[in-house]
Symmetry: C2
Subunit: 523 residues, 2 copies
């Protein structure tokens, strides 16, 4: 039985009134309602829904993971572990500390940080208490962390999953739940030194992962804003035009131009001027040229960005990474919080296209040399921490995020294609027996090995066949078998068998641990 | 302007009617409504709420993490990494593979698996599309994974965060977001062998973590159910009485008895009989005695459980872990899915109580020897995979979950109390200079070291003071400093300084990498 308060009567009178045309009156009625009264009504309606069977009737039970997410099987985990090790080693080589934050934040923490992408945030259901959202990236939680703990200096990495209600394209490594591997430097420093280190890190990681050739595009929000200003974009349209420019990696210039003019109301003239700039690419030379450009040089902002760009390239030369870095005026990046340098790394070779993607890819351009997607991105965000600090104190930050799902996809395809077997365990020895009734002896020996730090397995059968024990070793790449029999027990030895050569020797029980360690020291 | 359809008119007519008494009629009206029409109305009301300012006005912006969650700072991460390494090493030593699953599952996947605890599940907001919930443990996602991928044999571990809308007690390591480290063995095997390995693993991990003395309680769902049956508990009350028995670690027997009788409607006689059994503790001997018990022996189920318990203890003797394992008839565990052996590990020493807890602990019993909380638990769940398999095919499973937040708390308190500094980076060398204008030389050398795999840091200042560079090394435990000056550059050397001894020697640039590696080989 549902209990409706007087509030609902008033509310619905208002709603109905609104529909029948007398909106002014009804809005006044509405303003008499409080938010918590609305909440109450919503709760009652949802209760009603449950009584009607809720969403149950809509679909049958389906055995699947949520849309846009996936499990990792042991083989994929082995690959993931390898990729993470490469990335973490690099972060540690650069002296980074490690932090972690919760998977959800107060909803308000994420509000107003992501511009047009905010609609992709996953909210949690209001079950009473705080309103929560799943993190959308690791940057905003990092800024919240800095402000909350009054940290003004830190170099940290953070590897964790983030969540976006985007259109997934899983065969190409685009998921709704995906890992980001972030490295950020917070603190007041001399210009462009930390920024250059971030690019060096991207260069190191992408080189070490051996994913083929790559390119790191660099630009600066101040250059973009300066460009928009001198091209005649109204101030209040900077961010939205920036979002449109950001689509240049997926859309042709014609389509981008059309969106600017038709959807965003920009003048054709301004759009065309933007078009001339965003086609430019180069290095330090381009920054120098633009500093002399009649129009660009009129913008103080652009000049500051261009001067820093020159400085950045001088450090990149010292780091010997200029071979992969391009100053590209079309790079925009959608997120609202960037204030200075921005960058994005793309793989320039198209990898082996997975079958499913090739089949579904009707609308996809598969031209030669087309970028197969961004694998890293980042930039400077000097204002974000100040948005959280009660006194607005700023902590300048610059960072990079490695998006490794695409990397996983490539590595998985490589592993699929290669004949080499991926081991999913590190087991050194299997404790086996050829005879019956030796379960207890097998268990005792296995425990001895475990206690000595040896990675050992034993079959959970009273009387397993020797063949099936050996087969398990073949299947999972276990290199050694310790075989027990009545005779071996009497003699105080174990028959140690090398799986690949099938050689067997007797080893005294006392020396077994040492012998296994010696033979598997490379495992 | 809000657009309300005719549906709402009918709906609200129904609701109002309901309130005014003529419910039969209104429910008929309601049954004319579809769930999606209700959804539509809810969406409209929520839109209204946004127009009224949403939840904005309710509270001011707060700089905090969500209730019951916490950040990990670098020191905590260093401790966490150490704990994880111990646990992962153990899992790998036992030949486990690794898997991962998404943080959220379809809501229906979690439905009906957790008994009375289901109310603690976090749901995601219905933003269109599937209804999702955050995982509550790693066991149900594992069972879903097995059924979905038709895996009938696997030994795997999974370390990930799970989510429970419980009352947090963070100073005691109880959070709403917390890690579980799960190890499970799935497959049809001879009885109690994998079960014994799970207990061996708990024993190894808790011993290696050096958390003080511990006890592992063991029981069996079949023994509990048999006991309930012979004590006269009606069949349909087994689960709810089981939940009450599960509270014996937090409540006195008197309170548990009262809940059984007054809240759950059990007869006093039955409750008292249960009381006699749940006070029993022992080992293999107790299992043998109960097999002879006049009442217990009448239950086939209990006998099966007791026979297996004897078998389990015989394997535990081989594994030499019986010193810590107790057969305890009061152990119940709340989760619905257990079918056989269940266990739970507790630390028996009270650690140093954090100040905040001691101050707030008015209602807490702090008696000597009282358990400081469960740190591991698990059991056998032979029916869970079958609940997901379209044809109901069963895959027997047994597993253990290490709840390491409590462990972290203890380790953090230990680290706090100890004089030893926790290093949060692994940096081997700081590239420094005593003179001005050597930024470029410092950056060049740093890049050389990075490229040679050396963990190196450099200050992001054009002209940092030598003292502040050395201070940074002291603060963060960097053992070496490579100092560049005009003279060193001319001579092709670097002054290599050992931070703790302040010794300095000149090392030729060509040999620097080797020398750093030699001196930090133990880092």
């Amino acid at each position: 039985m549902i209990n409706l308060g007087m509030a609902s009567l008033r509310l619905y009178a208002g709603l109905v009134g609104c529909r029948s045309g007398s909106c002014a009156r009804s809005l006044r009625t509405l303003s008499g309602m409080t938010v918590s009264q609305i909440d109450e009504e919503v709760a009652k309606l949802l209760e009603l829904k449950v009584q009607l069977g809720g969403d149950e009737g809509r679909h049958q039970f389906t055995l699947k993971t949520a849309k846009g997410t996936r499990d990792y099987n042991p083989k994929q985990m082995a690959i993931r572990e390898k990729v993470f090790n490469t990335i973490i080693s690099c972060f540690k080589r650069h002296g980074a500390e490690n932090i972690d934050t919760p998977v959800f934040e107060l909803k308000e923490t994420l509000t107003g940080k992501y511009g047009e992408d905010s609609k992709l945030i996953y909210d949690l259901k209001d079950q009473g208490g705080e309103l929560l959202s799943l993190r959308y990236d690791l940057t905003v939680p990092f800024a919240r962390y800095l402000a909350m703990n009054k940290v003004t200096n830190i170099k940290r990495y953070h590897i964790a999953k983030v969540y976006r209600r985007d259109n997934p394209a899983m065969t190409r490594g685009r998921y709704r739940e995906f890992y980001q591997c972030d490295f950020d430097i917070a603190g007041q420093y001399d210009p462009m030194i930390p920024d250059a280190e971030c690019l060096k890190i991207v260069h190191e990681i992408l080189s070490e992962l051996e994913l083929g050739d790559f390119r790191i595009k660099v630009n600066d929000r101040r250059i973009l804003d300066g460009m928009f200003a001198v091209c005649g974009v109204p101030d209040d349209k900077f961010r939205t035009i920036c979002s449109t420019v950001d689509k240049l990696d997926k859309m042709s210039w014609e389509d981008v131009r059309s969106e600017m003019v038709k959807e965003k109301g920009l003048s054709e003239e301004a759009a065309d001027q933007i078009g001339q700039y965003v086609s430019l690419q180069g290095g330090m030379d381009l920054a120098e040229r633009l500093l002399q450009d009649a129009k660009m040089s009129q913008s103080k902002q652009a000049c500051a960005g261009l001067t820093d760009m020159k400085q950045l390239f001088s450090y990149l030369q010292l780091f010997q990474v200029t071979d992969k870095v391009v100053f590209d005026l079309s790079l925009a990046r959608g997120l609202d919080y960037y204030t200075g340098v921005i960058y994005e790394a793309i793989l320039t070779q198209t990898g082996p296209v997975p079958v499913a993607a090739a089949q579904n890819g009707a609308g996809e351009k598969a031209e030669e040399g087309v970028s197969v997607g961004s694998v890293a991105g980042g930039g400077r965000y000097d204002g974000l921490v100040g948005m959280f600090d009660p006194k607005g104190r700023k902590v300048p930050c610059v960072g990079v995020s490695i998006g490794i799902e695409r990397v996983f996809s490539i590595m998985e395809q490589k592993a699929e294609a290669s004949a080499e077997k991926v081991r999913t365990t590190e087991t050194q020895v299997m404790v086996a027996s050829a005879q019956k009734n030796l379960l207890e002896e097998r268990l005792r020996l296995t425990a001895e090995l475990w206690n000595a730090g040896i990675k050992a397995e034993v079959m959970y059968k009273k009387n397993p066949k020797l063949l099936s024990q050996l087969q398990h070793c073949e299947d999972s790449g276990i290199p050694l078998v310790a075989i027990l029999g009545e005779q071996e027990l009497k003699d105080g030895v174990v028959k140690l068998r090398t799986v690949h050569s099938r050689e067997e020797i007797d080893v005294s029980r006392a020396k077994l641990v040492e012998e296994i360690k010696r033979r598997t020291s490379d495992v």
